[in-house]
Amino acid sequence: MKLGHVQGNVVSTIKHPCFHGQRVLIVQPLNLLGEKDGPAVLACDSVSAGPGDVVLLQQNGISAQEILGTKKDPLHSVIVGIVDRVCR
């Protein structure tokens, strides 16, 4: 998993059926300094995260299917948690 920063969302009407009813958010992976770490990715939301939240970004298809309860769907990025704080 990665630390991610939710920056916004994507509106899409014509899409693969598995995305119907899913919120697709734009998540920017973070490094330890809280800065940009790689390109922004799109992820399905399963914990009702909003813009500005620091979240746990999980990018593995098999786990994504178990989390969203779907079978064989073309998505692999899911937000699995909202981070309260990161302590050293």
């Binding site: 630390l3 920063h5 939710v6 920056q7 916004g8 969302n9 994507v10 509106v11 899409s12 009407t13 014509i14 899409k15 693969h16 995305f19 697709v24 734009i26 920017q28 973070l30 330890l32 300094l33 809280g34 800065e35 940009k36 390109p39 922004a40 990715v41 799109l42 992820a43 813009p51 500005g52 620091v54 298809g61 994504a64 064989k72 769907d73 073309p74 998505l75 692999h76 990025s77 704080r85 990161v86 302590c87 050293r88």
Partner: protein
């Protein structure tokens, strides 16, 4: 999954039989500001009848084959949806991410 712009199509008559009948699109990954992220170009199988110039999002890795009828197709990228609107509300870095 990432945002991308469809740049063109690929025509290949000699190819693996798993790819027979699939439309191949040339897509360019974009960042959240819809600027070209890098000069990387990806060839992806089209699942939503996208054409050149369309803003789409695509899936990578093994999950891309789940967008097709044939789950064992030799595919690692599939265009899975059009993007109508991108709302970026928060930008920049996260201050004091780590509490000492």
């Amino acid at each position: 999954m990432r945002l991308a712009r469809v740049v063109g199509t690929v025509v290949a008559s000699t190819k693996d039989k798993g790819l027979q009948g699939e439309k191949l699109l040339v897509i360019q990954p974009l960042d959240e500001q819809l600027n070209v992220a890098s000069d990387e170009v990806v060839v992806a199988v089209d699942c939503v009848a996208a054409g050149p110039g369309d803003l789409v999002f695509y899936t990578l890795a093994r999950e891309a084959t789940f967008a097709l009828k044939n789950y064992n197709a030799p595919v690692d990228a599939a265009v899975t949806g059009f993007v109508d609107q991108v709302n970026v509300e928060v930008e920049g870095k996260v201050d004091n991410l780590i509490l000492e």
